[in-house]
Amino acid sequence: MSKMHIKMKVNGEEVETLAEPRELLIHVLRERLDITGPHIGCETSHCGACTIDMDGKSVKSCTVFAAQANGKDITTIEGLGDPDNLHILQEMFKEHHGLQCGFCTPGMITRAHRLLQENPNPTEDEVRFGMAGNICRCTGYQNIVKSILAAANEMNAAKEAAQ
């Protein structure tokens, strides 16, 4: 089956690639665009390691066809921060031991970022409910929740200071 041109905005940059319509978005990101932040844990829509932000929604990119993503605005963990300039969520995950092996972390942080956009002041229960699509096999979640709550505080404090 012939390939199609897929145009997307990824982390603020217009990109174009050729892909078969049946290719999964996670494969296009990782293998064609070399964006390897989002991981493949289960490839069956269950673990959330492949979570990206697509047009303002947290999406499991293993359950989206490349063709469906044509024209979309996508943010991955690479678009949130980098080693020299960590996002506040990355900093808080580091400080509060929100990761151990780190495999789930790109998905966790990308999802947490959207959650805090929609609910800047979540309760612990709301964080747990909002993060229910992401599985971690190491941490037991306690420190992930702590990191996200700490990031919410920091972001709110920064917002207040700016006003």
């Binding site: 089956m1 049946r22 290719e23 069956t44 359950t63 989206v64 993060m131 229910a132």
Partner: protein, 284 residues
């Protein structure tokens, strides 16, 4: 886990979509959120060579609230249902049920149209729509027709929808009185071991209207006529609730699977149904 190859279409009108489907017959399939279809395509359980993406068709989106009725476009996502404040006031049972479907990521993509059209007995919306006595609007090459949710489901993955028809919207009368959607699942993001939707209206100590429907307790959702008859006109006493619960469990026909043997499912069903009836009465 790579699906077989297909040709991709993204029409921007209902007519355009129907034209493509009619042209390719059973080789074509529509995709909404893809969160049931893509997993099936990965497992090669869905066979198609033309995929018709409905995402660009604005006619299929949106929630319309009129004084007595609610109309929801097929491409409305579960996330949009949950975050619609007016809908939560008019039909809070939708909110309660949608929050129990899958997980946040799946709810951003999964649509109400895909959920009810899919025909998977595990889907929560079909039982809920039978509880609400909703109508499904179907559009095909020969025009528009309406099928009641209570008449739509024939067997697992078999529905009254013709292959070349698109489900465009769902409409129901705004529910009044008490409501509950109760679901037992093994973990977050799991389909129901047993679930029940209940509506109850009370006047002067008497039940004037009731509705009960079950999810994942048979090949199709089940509207429990006998249990409804027991509740309607009664004083909703503990004995009545028990009798209605037993009648609803008797209407179920679960199969054994990885969620447990039949006996366990009926046990879970009984608890879920009773809780749903009791909560609906409390809120009535």
């Amino acid at each position: 886990m790579i699906p077989a190859a297909f040709e991709y279409h993204r029409p921007d009108t209902i007519d355009g979509a129907i034209k493509i489907i009619s042209e390719h017959g059973d080789e074509a399939r529509v995709i909404a959120g893809g969160h049931s279809l893509i997993p099936m395509m990965k497992l090669r359980m869905a066979d198609l060579s033309h995929l018709v993406d409905l995402q660009e068709i604005s006619e299929l989106k949106g929630i319309i609230l009129e004084c007595q009725s609610v109309t929801i476009g097929a491409m409305t996502t579960q996330h949009e249902l949950i975050t619609h404040e007016e809908l939560a006031k008019v039909a809070p049972i939708i909110n309660e049920a949608a929050l129990q479907i899958a997980d946040p990521q799946v709810r951003y993509m999964g649509t109400i149209g895909g959920n009810v059209a899919n025909g998977d007995p595990g889907n929560d919306m079909p039982g809920l729509m039978q509880c609400l006595d909703a109508d499904y609007i179907l559009v095909g090459p020969n025009g528009t027709r309406t099928v009641k949710a209570r008449d739509f489901y024939e067997a697992a993955y078999f529905t009254a929808r013709e292959e070349e028809e698109i489900l465009t919207s769902i409409t129901f009368n705004s529910p009044v009185g008490g409501y509950a959607y109760e679901k037992q699942k093994r973990k977050i993001g799991d389909y129901a071991t047993a679930a029940a939707g209940v509506l109850i209206t009370k006047e002067g100590g008497k039940c004037t209207h009731a509705s009960i429907a079950l999810t994942n307790l048979a090949d199709t959702p089940i509207y429990c006529e006998e249990a409804v008859a027991i509740l309607t006109g009664s004083d909703l006493s503990a004995d009545v609730v028990e009798a209605a619960t037993v009648a609803a469990v008797n209407a179920s026909d679960p199969g054994e699977d990885n969620r447990g043997p039949i006996e366990f499912k009926k046990h879970a069903a009984k608890i879920v149904i009773r809780r749903a009836i009791e909560r609906a009465i409390e809120r009535a």
